[in-house]
């Protein structure tokens, strides 16, 4: 998936790095110091519908062309995450215990058109 440039109109991944210091949360989140809060944004014209971003294969490219030439568009397509990974956090709970846990699906790695 392309990372969004300022004027990218098509479906892309918008990257934002969030530093926990900026949230004022460094007193209870011990590790890491921040994380990438990415999200998907952009248009999904019909010929891109069903294209999973970077995972597009030759088949899906041909399939997209067929759809683009189809005069009867069916439904709309949205720019959604197609690959996400977990985030490992080390933090203090309200009883000052140290807790280490993996939060699933926290970081969007790739976007694509539904």
């Amino acid at each position: 998936t392309p990372t969004c440039e300022p004027e990218t109109p098509l479906c892309c991944r918008r990257d934002h790095y969030v530093d926990f210091q900026e949230l004022g949360w460094r007193d209870w989140i011990l590790q890491p110091e921040g994380y990438h809060l990415n999200y998907c944004s952009g248009q999904c014209p019909l010929h891109l519908a069903g294209s999973p971003g970077i995972a597009a294969s030759f088949h899906s490219a041909v399939f997209s062309l067929l759809k683009a030439n189809n005069p009867w568009p069916a439904g709309t397509s949205c720019c959604v995450p197609t690959a996400r990974r977990s985030l490992s956090l080390l933090y203090l709970d309200h009883k000052s215990n140290v807790v280490k846990t993996d939060v699933p699906d926290m970081v969007v790695e790739a976007c694509g058109c539904s």
Binding site: V18, Y39, K95, N97, V99
Partner: protein, 219 residues
């Protein structure tokens, strides 16, 4: 709103960079609290001393991750009723309120002074308050400590479960071994390090309960 420019996804007005940043930070807070199943950020009133924290984290296996949405917890002891020898002490832990997680491994980490005389016989009891302050205690384990320094003592997970309040009291009873008999009275000098950055702590490993686990047990 930036005049004239249009959001490429929804066609609405795009946000000015500062406004977008503020929205992203709020989103990040929501996403993290949801991911940790918290309704609000914890208020840390008594953070553990950084030295104790560093020492404890150094003891844990680096890179070890509890399997499948599991959690690892380090809980520092507060020492009460410590006898002068500080070897027969009561350790109090304030564990997280149990969620839908299953405790499958527990270790008590103790630091034995280098000056301790030879091998120590250590009994670990779980102390439960019962009627009218008379407590009852359950033996969780007995260990021979022959080396000074950090000791990781495995405890039976089943012996630590079940305290709704999250308060767990462990009573230590240790005596030097003379030959293969324990000395009659408690030792006179300090044997276990209970203060500073060598404070005792519990290392717990939890894993998410399989769906329906409780039903299987009832059946």
């Amino acid at each position: 709103r930036r005049a004239g420019s249009e959001c490429p996804a929804c066609g609405g007005p795009t946000l000015a960079p500062q406004a977008e940043r503020a929205v992203v930070l709020e989103l990040a807070k929501q996403q993290i609290l949801e991911g940790l199943h918290l309704t609000s950020r914890p208020r840390i009133t008594h953070p553990p001393p950084p030295a104790a924290l560093t020492t404890a984290l150094r003891r844990l296996q680096p890179g070890s991750v509890a399997p499948g949405n599991g959690e690892e917890i380090v809980s520092f002891a507060t020492v009460t009723d410590s006898s002068p020898a500080a070897c027969s002490s009561m350790l109090t832990f304030h564990l997280p309120t149990p969620r839908s997680h299953h405790l499958y491994r527990a270790r008590l980490w103790l630091h034995v002074f280098p000056t301790s005389p030879g091998t120590l016989n250590l009994k670990i009891f779980r102390w439960s308050p019962r009627r009218r302050h008379r407590g009852s205690r359950t033996l969780l384990g007995e260990h021979q400590l022959s080396l000074p320094g950090w000791q990781a003592l495995t405890l039976p997970p089943s012996g630590l479960r079940g305290e709704r309040s999250g308060v767990l009291k462990l009573q230590l009873d240790c005596r030097p071994l003379k030959g293969n008999r324990t000395a009659a009275g408690p030792p006179r000098q300090r044997l276990l390090d209970m203060a500073g950055h060598q404070r005792p702590f519990l290392e717990l490993k939890m894993r998410a309960n399989e769906p329906g686990a409780g039903r299987a047990r009832r059946r």
